[in-house]
């Protein structure tokens, strides 16, 4: 089968990643070498492509159903996008370390009337599409978080800047879909620190997804920069505002923080999918498949299997590659364990809430629109679009 022909396969409890993949120390060094003018952009691009191929291969070998490019081209979760948004000004371009954030500013409103200059994300996706026949998740940082790293001298209030970025990302999302992307994810890593702004963030998410025929996921975590949480708390702040988000899936962290917040999905009758974080990305300790299975079974009390997607808490960039591979294998094995139980129709020990249907029935009930891996309630946005 040619690499660019996606596999047609229905899977219950599809496994995926949140986005980033382990960044080896040598790659970090080469990225920094680029920012210090020791290697060319061309060489770094070639290095990135090889690293991405390896990351995809790792995911495939681990048995991940929906893979990503590992975000290995990106210097960090912010600058890769800000440097590509026309109108965002960077006073200084040098970095002592590739992972550092730039100081960015806008001095005039972002240009919107001129023909949209692509941010290049569609090209990134196309490269990944050419490397694998598995479904691909493509993620990018959301407008709210991007705005938090910009000093704004142009807009009357932050909301205007956030919405302007959202419109730019919407154009980019359309280009991604035109390139074949079907599962897109918006990451809002800073939102948990600005709970009072959750409605603004959701409003901006809806601008990004507007009219884009893809399955949309929204990832909200408590921060993972340098593998440290930036904030603590609970996901209560997301609700009920997030109900208004035109997304198909919420991707949240649970492994590190515990599963207590699952209650929110019942309390607010969330009727879309949940990307369940079952792997702690801030710890190098590898979970057992049994632990993963227990977490999934617990989640099944609140969300039915056909609306559950299995993933790590957040990006894997800060973990060593061998740890990542082991964690992903454990995640896949744990998921497989639960799938088998469901297929056998075994009553789930922990299940007190939603009764899980056997796999065949579940697949028939809520398959992904194009018959691919069920990425979780994937057609809401498409129908709206």
């Amino acid at each position: 089968m040619p690499k660019n022909t996606p596999r047609k396969k229905k899977v219950l409890l599809p496994t995926t990643v949140v986005g980033s993949y382990s960044v080896p120390e040598w790659l970090e060094r080469l990225k920094t070498d680029y920012y210090q003018r020791r290697i060319s952009g061309q060489h770094l691009e070639e290095i990135h492509e090889i690293a991405i191929k390896a990351a995809i291969k790792d995911q495939e070998q681990a048995g991940i159903d929906i893979v990503s490019d590992g975000e290995l081209r990106r210097d960090n979760d912010i600058d890769y996008f800000l440097t590509r948004i026309p109108g965002v000004h960077l006073p200084h371009h040098a970095k002592t370390d590739y992972f550092d954030y730039y100081e960015a500013e806008v001095t005039r409103p972002l240009p919107e009337s001129e023909p949209a200059t692509g941010m290049g994300l569609a090209g990134d996706f196309a490269f990944t599409r050419g490397q694998t026949d598995r479904p691909i998740k493509f993620s990018f940082t959301g407008p709210f978080s991007l705005s938090r790293r910009i000093t704004d001298h142009a807009y009357k209030d932050q909301g205007e800047l956030v919405r302007a970025i959202a419109r730019r990302l919407n154009a980019e999302a359309r280009a991604l879909v035109a390139a074949g992307a079907e599962l897109l994810q918006i990451d809002e890593p800073f939102l948990a620190g600005y709970r009072e702004d959750v409605e603004l963030a959701i409003d901006a998410v809806n601008i990004v997804t507007e009219g884009v025929g893809a399955t949309w996921a929204l990832h909200v975590c408590y921060g993972n920069r340098y593998a440290r949480p930036l904030w603590e708390g609970h996901y209560d702040f997301l609700f009920p505002a997030v109900q208004a988000a035109r997304v198909d899936q919420l991707v949240l962290e649970f492994a590190r923080r515990g599963l207590d917040d699952l209650r929110l999905f019942r309390a607010y009758e969330w009727d879309r999918s949940l990307g369940l974080g079952v792997i702690d990305v801030k710890s190098a300790e590898v979970e057992t498949s049994e632990l993963v299975a227990r977490r999934i079974r617990r989640a099944l009390e609140y969300v039915p299997a056909e609306r559950l997607v299995i993933n790590p808490d957040c990006g894997l960039r800060h973990l060593p590659a061998e740890v990542v591979r082991a964690k992903l294998r454990a995640m896949v094995a744990g998921t497989e364990q639960v799938r088998s139980e469901i297929a056998a129709g075994e009553p789930q020990e922990e299940s007190r809430g939603h009764k899980t249907r056997p796999a065949r029935q579940a697949s028939a009930g809520r398959a992904a629109p194009n018959g691919r891996v069920a990425a979780g309630a994937g057609d809401n946005a498409k129908q709206r679009a």
Binding site: E25, R29, T96, Y226, R228, L230, E232
Partner: protein, 487 residues
Amino acid sequence: MRVDVRAAEKRLRESVDATAVFGPMIQTLGSAEVDLSRLRVVCDWIQYRQNFREPIDHRPLLSAWGGSNEHNGLEIAVDLRRCPDIDLTERIKDVLKTANANDQDRITLEPWVPGRESCIWRFNTLYWQALEQWEKATGREYEQALPGGESDARNREAVQELILELFKVWDDLDARQALPEELYVVELGVGNGNQAQVFLDMFAELDEARGRDYYHRLHYLMGDYSPHVLERARKAVAHHGDRISALVLDATRPAHTLGFLAGKAFLVYISNLYDNLPSDEVASIDGRMYQVEVRAYLGAADAQQISGEFGIATDQLGTLIDRLLRLGPELLSVSLPDRFPDAERAVGFWGQVWEALRLQERYVPMEGLDLYQISPSLSGEILRPVLEAAGDIRMHVNNGTLSSFADTLPLLHPYGRLQCHDLFLTDRRQYRIGYYGPGKYDGSVVNWVNGPLLQLIGNRRGFDVRFSPFKQRPTANVKTLTAQVRD
């Protein structure tokens, strides 16, 4: 021949008669049977009266890592401060002769090892474990050996400023209902407990005046690897009762014991600890990376003198020193009562050995920075930016400190800070104009701390690391390091 003078200009002008040193030195080396094209002369001005160096030493630059002793260069190390007291010409000739004679007269106490593995650190450990006997024998407390005669962490003005800043952070968090119930402060390396006492007394006083009652939510955790030191510190703050916990821990791996505090500590407070943790040294010479290996020894004359005074055969000295380091002075006197009728006599032996202890050095090529482990969790790759940017440089790795620092940062609350008073180099260029250890402080080892490396480690983990002069003693060598979350 290349001559590298690493002394500050002030030292050169005021303390060294350059003509008297450099003229004879160059003349002697020029007429010696040595390949001048592969000879480096490094001149330091060693400020420590007690140190591990002879006024003139030699250090081969080995040509390959592994067992080979072949070398492709020689370094002559000169202590400019002591040059006026010696016959320079004769000593240089002796050293060149010794270099060829393989140092047969010395009593070596260990094989060639990286600096952090040298037995000088066993002496250091012994000092903290048997501090009481040492102080009794020397008649002075260790704190008197510190610059300024006391730990800077006892400075009341500095402590007050620190506590008030802490209160401000807590007030702000409290206003947002984000202040945890338990408020943790950690002190690593507790000394005699005086700094904990100053902190806690002042904390209670200031808190009472403000009426926020943070004191009763405070948990002050004292950590030290010496149970004896810890017990003494605990007594000093006993009046603070349940607010205090004392934990025996390895300062180089604090999270091993304090893992339960991850993300919870509002202040980690460290004073004069980092300069006292094991360290390697690395060097970049002519574009090649080397690790400095050391070998502890006693000079022949010193060994003779100690042997005579304690009635020990010279060839038994090594075994006896090892026994001292294993048992400590008290048990040594119990096990060898004929030689050491009491602990004081054993401390006397210890003191004399310590005073005479020297380190031979050699440069061993590094196979690759990525293969050099600073600590189990830190790769030597972090050294690259500093080593590559600096040209020829020899610098401390401060392995114990880097490990401790990297292991402590995860304990900090997002609004927490690590504050440390110590001897920090704040710019790698300082290595070109000064000597920064190892030296001897009383019975302990001191190495200045490579600040730029700490900044790299902190930055790579998302922390801002800043150095500032110790405000209450701005001319002192001691600086204040503050690490806080950035971004």
